[in-house]
Point group: C2
């Protein structure tokens, strides 16, 4: 990979993302889909000008972490705790239902082998928090209590997804479930879950104090925040069992669980001041890096590899899409105290699978678990779950706001 | 180069740059030297944790272009034109004197071969605009008319340096000066010099109009500006005779000559509005990327490779430093209408050689033109020219401001 090709690739990503996002915004389509579409246009699906590579992956990862960091800054930990049980229910149902149903479809209806069916279930499991958050932000709904429920659930969901990935990857490569490895991975993730908020609290406080009292030069906060993101990505790699293919995904999920509660432990008035200073400094970075993530989702969706003439492809796609959609959305009906339209919004917000599903599908294909038509069906299902909810959410959320104002 | 090593490298660069810049600011040393020092500490000279690589080079390049872009936004084209003849004189004297004197020292005093002596002259030629601009900015002097003279001269100086590099590189590899190649390179650079401001004007105007009238989504400007920087780096590569080693340096200089006058062609009131919107959005990116450039200068300075026991090393260093310092600063004495202290400031501001000198020295070593002691002496001279002027400028500029206020 030559340096000038990387430069050209980045240019095409940034400019096409901006072009299609603006275009889609003008014609009333959620702009985030413009960015995913940009990836489909310049990527292997259509023009094949840019292929996914390691550099794009790092920058995309910085983008999604920055987006979640921003959401985390706006997240009220009290509110998150108050809605916590709702998030846990939503996350658990959203993992169990698609996994079990996806497995059952493969194993019982299509008579596929055990491992293939397990991987189908795995691919349908994890919500892609990025798409959901961006749509909520574009609707200016990211601070609503519905959004809090969804964000909490999606972060948990990610973490359960990583543990599942570790277990299934073991099973795929060694033919059995390595209990020691599975326990180790789970323990590691749990240690992170406890340690991350403490570390986040400590660092946010140190940064806050230094910035307020001792800092001499401008531009302190963006640099330190980006540095921490890089450091955490590195630590996650070191801890994250680099021998498994899912290390990257593990790093992703762990970094996310670190940055979402980043400033949650400051005192209220400190937090407000910190955020007021932080926001205008972080926004340009968020605007720059976030689209790289969504374009990279589009780059990873290779529509050319799909065999559109295979009946298995169409059959699997149709049934798995129903499973992926309703299996995920159904979790919202376990939550009490929500109106019908609120359940619809929460349920549909959890549907996008995006990059997490694609990582799983890719893993399955590389391990020769998925034949081409099964892989294609899964990619197509992931694409549909990513593209459909933004439209539905836009319509539902508008109606919801009108109802609330009318009532 | 693995992805996690790149991530760790970037983390170390950002955090060490910030640490030493803050530390130096607290003890009264120009902060930019803290960033260069960070590169010396984490790089091959000391801890050897980070080595220069292609990714760092791209990011560093984005950093320096962003810094110049900011300066360009603040540059008044009328003022630049009014001081233009001063800049041209300064640039020409600053190229001719160090080149001729450096050559003479090598050829006549140390009896070195013709090619070696020519490369010594070449290494001492080009001013590193980055250090100068950062010091002026840290002193809040970047809008003064003295700064305008220096910036104009340093940009010109860069361009002449590139042409010299093309000619000398040809001579080094083929043993003769390829007239066709030299003319082609010169013509190309001249085409750029004419076309760049026109293109810059057109693009700045389009961006301004779209942003003011049609834009639907936030974050337009930073993304477009970064995109343009990437595009221009790519175009410069395509045009820039990639067969020569200096292509990278060529791209650098050409991109710079494009972005410095970027907004100069907007109407005054448009420009003010544009800049008012632009500044807060670009600052965080500038703060993030610029230190990467200065750290990379430090990374490129390998103090371990210097043979401190060689008499030739010390002799060459002493004489070449005098040539590099006074040869460059002397140009200021050709300019009329300046007081003594103004001449000192302008002259010394031109002294830093930084990355341009290091590229030349590296080229000479890779082509086996420089023996180790000569290479070491040149690297040491470049380091001295980079480290000394910030201190001198700080003292001189303070006295100058006091005098002006007192008078």
């Amino acid at each position: 990979m030559e340096i000038h090709q990387i430069i050209l690739g980045l240019f095409l990503i940034l400019i096409s993302a901006r072009f299609f996002a603006e275009l889609f915004a003008h014609i009333g389509i959620p702009p985030v889909l413009g960015e995913v579409f940009a990836g489909i246009v310049i990527g292997p699906s259509l023009l094949n000008l840019v292929q996914p590579n390691e550099i794009i992956k790092i920058l995309a990862e910085i983008g999604i972490i920055l987006l979640l960091f921003e959401v985390g800054m706006e997240t009220d930990l009290d509110k998150l705790r108050r809605e916590g049980i709702k998030s846990v229910l939503l996350a658990l149902a959203g993992v169990v239902l698609p996994f079990v149903l996806g497995f059952a479809v493969g194993y019982y209806i299509f008579s596929l082998p055990l491992l293939v069916s397990l991987f189908i279930g795995g691919t349908l499991t994890a919500t892609s928090i990025g798409i959901t958050v961006r749509v909520l932000k574009d609707l200016k709904a990211e601070k609503s209590f519905l959004a809090q429920i969804v964000i909490g659930a999606a972060v948990l969901d990610d973490i359960i997804g990583v543990i599942l990935l570790v277990i299934l990857a073991d099973f795929a490569f060694s033919g059995r479930v390595d209990i020691f490895h599975a326990v180790k991975a789970t323990a590691l993730v749990l240690v992170f879950l406890v340690a991350a908020p403490l570390l986040a609290s400590l660092l946010a406080r140190l940064i806050y104090i230094y910035d307020a009292k001792y800092r001499r030069l401008p531009g302190f906060i963006p640099t330190v925040v980006i540095s921490l993101i890089l450091l955490f990505a590195y630590i996650a790699h070191i801890f994250g069992a680099p021998e498994i293919v899912g290390a990257f995904a593990a790093g992703v999920a762990l970094s996310r669980s670190f940055f979402v509660p980043f400033a949650a432990f400051l005192k209220r008035e400190e937090k407000e001041r910190f955020f007021r200073d932080l926001e205008p400094q972080m926004k340009p970075l968020i605007y720059l890096f976030t689209p790289i993530f969504f374009v990279s989702v589009g780059l990873a969706m290779n529509l050319r590899e799909i065999d559109y003439s295979s009946p298995l492809f169409w059959g699997l796609t149709a049934i798995l899409f129903l499973v992926a959609f309703f299996g995920k959305a159904a979790g919202a009906y376990l939550i009490r105290d929500l109106s019908h339209i609120e359940r619809l919004i929460v349920g549909i917000a959890m549907v996008p699978r995006g990059e997490v599903g694609l990582i799983f599908a890719e893993l399955g294909r590389n391990a020769k678990i998925f034949a081409n038509d099964i892989y294609s069906a899964l990619v197509f299902v992931v694409i549909l779950t990513t593209l459909l909810p933004p439209f539905l959410l836009k319509v539902l959320y508008k109606r919801y706001v009108q109802n609330s104002e009318g009532g």
